[in-house]
């Protein structure tokens, strides 16, 4: 579904503090599978996630998407292959918000807004009818059992509840791919396991899942189809399971 070939990403090129976060990474993410990125912090997991999720562009290398359609863009190589390496930001964003849902390590909820508003936030620029949008948001809150908090500011929630709000937000645009960056870093074991059951549901729904983590609850989980190990910006091993 997502194909990376020879991706490198460097920061502060030509300056004293230049560093290479990704170094010649090539890999394939398969549709409907759970892929785990494993490695110590600073190994380039997060940067790889941002590149995979069309959030940032690689310095060199190419990214191709298969089976994803974006209005206004016609691919070169066949009908369902799309080279996105040098697309303008507005097209990348278009792809990102229709295809990817993000769950962040620090939840990244907007303080001061209510739970419902936070969940709806990614859909605002899409210009959907607000009544329909709101209904979808409430359905999601119901799914994660937090409907009673809908009108409460997110700052008042517990860690587990915040996590569920962040997951609900990732689902608001019904993405085909879920990307989670260290999702369990701030959760205790019970909540981490709860997260894994939610991931299992996603997988059942046919979503593609990408998780970066160094938490054994995640990378040792039976859910994982592929575990990619990283170190110093390079892929050191790719283990297929199941």
């Amino acid at each position: 579904m997502i194909e990376l070939s020879h991706i490198s990403k460097s920061f502060n090129v030509g300056k004293g503090n230049q560093f290479t976060a990704l170094d010649d990474v090539s890999l394939n993410i398969d549709r409907g599978k759970v892929t785990i990125l494993k490695g110590p912090s600073g190994s380039g997991k997060t940067t790889l996630m941002t590149v995979l999720g069309c959030m940032s562009r690689p310095t060199t290398g190419r990214i191709k998407l298969h089976g994803i359609n974006v209005s206004g863009v016609t691919g070169d190589a066949g009908l369902d292959t799309l080279e996105i390496t040098s697309l303008p930001e507005r097209f990348l964003t278009e792809i990102r918000r229709s295809t990817f849902g993000f769950i962040f390590q620090h939840f990244n909820l907007v303080k001061g807004l209510t739970v419902l508003e936070n969940v709806l936030l990614p859909a605002y620029p899409l210009g959907e009818n607000f009544t329909i949008l709101r209904q979808r948001g409430m359905d999601l809150l119901g799914m994660f059992n937090i409907t009673r908090h809908a009108a409460a500011p997110v700052d008042r929630l517990s860690g587990g509840e915040m996590q569920r709000v962040a997951i609900a937000r990732a689902l608001i645009n019904n993405p085909a791919v879920i990307i989670a960056d260290e999702p369990t870093a701030h959760l205790d074991s019970a909540l981490s396991r709860e997260f894994m059951t939610i991931l299992a549901d996603f997988k059942k729904d046919g979503r593609t899942i990408l998780v970066a983590s160094h938490d054994p609850i995640i990378y040792d989980s039976t859910l994982a189809d592929t575990v990619i190990e990283m170190r110093d910006g390079r892929v050191t091993s790719i283990a297929e399971r199941g």
């Binding site: 990403k9 920061f11 502060n12 090129v13 562009r57 690689p58 310095t59 060199t60 290398g61 206004g72 863009v73 016609t74 390496t85 040098s86 697309l87 303008p88 930001e89 507005r90 097209f91």
Partner: protein, 333 residues
Amino acid sequence: MILHPAILALIGASLVSSFLILYAAWGGWQILCRWDISSGSELQLNLERRTYLTSTILSYNFAFQMLSLFLFIYTADNLHNLFIGAMCAAGTLNANTYGYPLLLLKIFNFLLAGVWLIINHADSKGYDYPLLKIKYLLILCFVPLVLAESYLLLRYFSGLQADVITSCCGSLFSSEKETVSGGLAALPSGPMMLAFYVVIGATVLFGGHFYRKKRGGYLFATASTVTFVIATASLVSFICLYFYELPTHHCPFCLLQREYGHIGYVLYATLVGGGVAGLGVGVLMPFKNRKSMINVIPPLQQRLTAIVLICYTLFVLVVSYRIIFSSFRLVSL
């Protein structure tokens, strides 16, 4: 120099505009020189971010220019008391040699800014920045024009002295004078009227054809632009006579006044709207077969064509209604 608040506002605004355009052009220059879409380098990413700034600046600039055109004409009208013999904006503009060139340049820059926004709109829908070059070349062309506008504005206002004897609009647009506007007024109204209806008819015809068949775009764009010029000339030559119901009053500004029901706004808005949209159709023609534009430009051109047709039709309807139902009759007809 007359120390009027509006003059200060206009000068301030033109300085701000010049600065913003210079800033945009500087960025544009870097983009033209160092653009490499296939690269993912930080430089390229920065340049791509920069394109947003340019679009924003130019959009605001367009709005500023529209307002400033309005304020300029109204200020000229407001100041006419200060000049012996000036009865309205026409007289104030004639107070020194910079007035009319400034007005024409302002209108031209405004049209150009409108066309730029159309190109920018098309470009933002393309996935490979298809119109990048022409967009930024155009901005570079803006620089001397906007600077010239500021220069003329400063010269015009600093040269204004109350009490300078100027011709009033009655004599400025009277047929004897050998000025551009006098020349327009001197155009025989009969043939002018014929020309007006012929070009507008042709534009509507070509427009309808282009709208349905998507062919003959250049023809339509040319016709639309010619219509813009002819209609502007007609406005001075005979249309305003019907509104004023005076055989010698050729002033194009008094139409904006309350006495004439602010009808000038409708006339100028439709005229400028049609002119810009028509030019836009033409400017987009060479790019419509680019791969990234093939699904963008044709529908956009179709929408622009619809705008041209609606604007011009409205213009003709308002004018014809007045010609038919006004008690005023031109002798030459």
